[in-house]
């Protein structure tokens, strides 16, 4: 039996999310093949070939795959899946989009966002914003799984003889969708889901200008990624891809600093796996303090600049 791991990558290299999903894949105890699908993936494939437990790397390249379009990517997964007992992917937006499509075409139930592999057919996954953890056993012949990367440590690359890399045939693009464009934040910061430190801001920041003026210096000082609550994103203080929570990104940094965030269950769902949580909030009763290791009660507009200075 073999496990297929779908790699998140940027063409040149493998993303940290893949190294975390690899940890879940290794728990199956089977040989692992890695699929690197995209458009210009040589660098990423070379890296994938050196990962622990990987016996083969498959590459598939077309422009549509380069944009991660769901229809051709799902068609590719469907073509490859029957040779495997499990197909795992990190819970990135690309795979959350494509993998359920492949699952339905294979007539299997995807297991979303697993937090633990208990047996090759038995997994733990969160429901109700992480307030109920289910242990589920799959009856399907192939297990299609997305991995909640915040729940797994990365398995670093090894000094090993590289696994063979082979090109696989790409099924004809169903031609249902075309890429128009993207608007990616180009900030020179660590990625939210892999950063060691995350500084997040809430509604209390009051405006996009203040969000930036108050939080970015602190984030810079800490070498941190920046996150936000839904309220801050909805209000336009922060871009959508900064949202942390049940319906945004799940993060598990060493240090999470929540600034002017009340701590709604939907927000906690995305950050309560952080090793150390600091909360800064003027309301001593805010629920965020129930999960914070360290709390400062007071006005963020005074405390955050003071903290930034104290770290300098």
């Amino acid at each position: 039996m073999t496990t297929l791991l779908l790699a998140a990558h940027d063409g040149a290299s493998i993303k940290d999310a893949t190294l975390k999903a690899l940890t879940a894949a290794l728990a199956f105890g089977d040989d692992i093949h890695v699929l690197v699908a995209g458009d210009g993936v040589a660098g990423a494939a070379t890296e994938a070939a050196k990962l622990k437990g990987v016996g083969r790397v498959l590459t598939a390249e077309t422009p549509a795959l380069g944009h991660g379009l769901a229809e051709p990517l799902a068609a590719l997964i469907v073509a490859l899946a029957p040779a495997y007992s499990a197909v795992l992917a990190p819970s990135t937006s690309t795979f959350k989009n494509a993998l359920p499509r492949a699952a339905a075409l294979l007539d299997v139930m995807q297991i979303s966002d697993i937090t633990a592999v208990l047996a090759p057919d038995t997994f733990e996954r969160p429901t109700y914003a992480g307030n109920a953890l289910l242990t589920v056993r799959s009856a399907d012949p192939i297990r299609l799984i997305t991995v909640r990367t915040a729940s797994f440590r990365a398995t670093p690359a090894e000094d090993r003889a590289p696994a063979p890399i082979e090109t696989v045939a790409v099924p004809a693009d169903p031609g249902l969708s075309t890429f128009v464009g993207d608007a990616f934040s180009t900030a020179d910061r660590p990625e939210l889901t892999s950063a060691r430190v995350v500084v997040s801001g809430g509604r209390a920041l009051g405006s996009e200008e203040q969000f930036k003026a108050v939080l970015l210096p602190l984030a810079d000082r800490l070498g941190a990624a920046v996150g936000a609550s839904r309220a801050a994103v909805d209000a336009g203080y922060a871009p959508n891809d900064w949202q942390v929570g049940q319906t945004g990104k799940a993060v598990s940094p060493d240090l999470y600093v929540a600034v002017g965030i009340s701590g709604a269950i939907q927000h906690l769902a995305g950050m309560k796996d952080a090793k150390v949580i600091v909360a800064i909030n003027k309301d001593a009763e805010a629920p965020i303090f129930q999960v914070a290791d360290y709390g400062l009660v007071g006005d963020l507009f005074e405390l955050v600049p003071e903290l930034t200075k104290a770290l300098g």
């Binding site: 359920p100 699952a103 339905a104 839904r230 891809d241 319906t247 060493d254 939907q266």
Partner: protein
């Protein structure tokens, strides 16, 4: 063009759910139930397309216990034209829901199906993608903006790095993300009007879809509780503790 909007009855997002002590599931007795918030956004988007003259009819459909009629009634009160409920008890997984929706699509022939991107109870984030697969239609998931043009639709999607825009042929499947719109509240007159709108109650079993779950839930557990932390008196103390006690600086 007709728009089909599937809506799910879920525990209200404000409720702090409790796991049953024997690990057999989540205690749903006397808990407030509402329409899945993402589905409200889907209904709103469909209504806006009808109001803009692009769509002619909005049909809400729910799959679940009999009480799902209340959820469909909420969609009607928001402005949907009519409703369908496929009654089914127990856990109906996304794959089975998608198969039932495929049957409804065959009957209704909509040009668009707009769903919520995920239900806030099981957090699966699968149904829209699965329905698209079974129909062989394109999918625009996690949508934050829709622009309908001739013969196609441009969908701006919330993705990990920011936003991606794709163009889909019609008919298509859309799943709504939080920023697509702000759903309206049903006004009192519309709530009254909704009482007269038709809801077609059927049994899910009539579609010959195997509803047996593929995943067996062996156990439901509470997440580990984080030990309570402490309030600190000053920024200086915080920095000191982060350095010495927590060792994260």
């Amino acid at each position: 063009m007709k728009i089909l909007v599937p809506v799910k009855r879920v525990v209200d997002y404000n409720v702090n759910i409790r796991v049953k002590a024997d690990g057999s599931g989540v205690d749903l007795a006397n808990v407030k139930m509402s329409m899945n918030p993402f589905d409200e956004i889907a209904v709103e988007e469909a209504l806006r397309l009808r109001e803009a003259g692009v769509a002619t009819e909005v049909v809400a459909v729910s799959i679940g216990p009999k009480e799902s009629q209340e959820t469909v009634r909420t969609a009607l009160a928001m402005g949907a034209d009519r409703g369908i409920v496929l009654e089914a008890d127990g856990i109906i997984e996304p794959l089975a829901v998608a198969k039932l929706l495929k049957a409804i699509v065959a009957e209704e022939a909509p040009g668009l199906v707009i769903l919520g991107k995920q239900a806030i109870d099981d957090d699966s984030n699968q149904t829209g993608q699965m329905l698209a697969a079974l129909l062989g239609w394109p999918q625009g998931t996690f949508a934050s903006k829709l622009v309908l043009g001739d013969g196609g639709i441009e969908v701006t999607r919330e993705v990990d790095g920011g936003l991606q825009t794709v163009r889909l042929a019609l008919p298509a499947i859309i799943t709504a993300d939080l920023r697509l719109n702000e759903p309206r509240y049903a006004s009192l007159p519309n709530i009254m009007k909704a009482k007269k709108k038709p809801i077609d109650l059927r049994s899910a079993s009539q579609y010959g879809v195997d509803l047996t779950p593929r995943l067996t839930v062996l156990k439901t557990a509470e997440p580990p509780v984080r030990p309570a932390g402490r309030r600190l008196a000053s920024v200086a103390e915080l920095v000191d503790r982060l350095k010495t006690e927590a060792g994260v600086l």
